[in-house]
Symmetry: C2
Subunit: 157 residues, 2 copies
């Protein structure tokens, strides 16, 4: 059941003011709040590694698909290719990934993790899993997490 208090502590109800039903039931509002909470925790847990959410997502995609085209990685992450350049530059400058020019089509770059990048990501994973587990715990288990992922996917597909 959904109640109509916007405040976690029920402030609105205790004060006897009108409800916030429109906002409390708003998917846009709730998704935004959740995104903020997850981003905040990511930065708390992994921020001192000098890595942002976007950096992590790039590393993990390349780890799973070594040699993927730069523009395909950008598209997979819903990042515009113009904005993706700086991200790739940063990761390359840190020695975590490298661009390799295609011999067949000299316009394209394939992205690969370096050894340092592979080691760095491996070292990151336990902290990232801890970060994810925090929210799986709040949700009430990985079955709930799977349900949530499925619902979120249906929203953005």
């Amino acid at each position: 059941m959904i109640d109509h208090n916007i405040f976690a502590d029920g402030t609105a109800a205790r004060q006897g003011v009108a409800d916030y039903s429109v906002l409390a039931l708003s998917l846009g509002f709730r998704v935004r709040r959740a995104q903020l909470a997850i981003l905040q925790d990511f930065q708390d847990v992994l921020g001192d590694q000098g890595i942002r959410q976007a950096d992590f997502s790039v590393l993990s995609v390349i780890a799973g698909n070594s040699g993927m085209k730069q523009s395909d990685v950008a598209e997979a992450l819903a990042i515009q290719r113009a904005n993706f350049v700086a991200i790739v530059d940063g990761l390359e400058k840190k020695g975590l990934i490298e661009r390799r020019r295609s011999e067949v089509d000299r316009r394209v770059y394939f992205l690969h993790l370096t050894e340092a990048g592979t080691a760095f990501l491996a070292q990151l994973m336990p902290k990232w899993r801890e970060h994810e587990e925090k929210f799986i715990g709040r949700l009430g288990g990985s079955d709930k997490r799977d349900q949530l992922i499925e619902m979120l996917r249906s929203i953005s597909d």
Copy 2:
């Protein structure tokens, strides 16, 4: 069940490349994508009304709680009070809301909808509901929506 394709059309699987399991199961990634999709649709449906998500949320909170303190509205919406000033300025300049100084504590402003603001919001609501219904439909009904809201709330509480 969750599959591991990052692409809606199953591209990764068809190409036989490695999976994206880390990312595909990442709450941070999926929530971000959903937020982007909802924001995009909000702008498509309501952008020509000269109103942003934040503006709409302010109007609907004030509509439900006339005379709420400016800083309390900001806190309810997780907007910092410094950044909230420009939003309130904008809505006031459009004649949709007004600040009324408290007689008891002359530091605080109470926020009220004007008549024009009430009418504007009333006119907005059908379009906003259409926007929300689009995603309720994708989710498979309002029971699913309630489940999702509840899960998202557990994440950000």
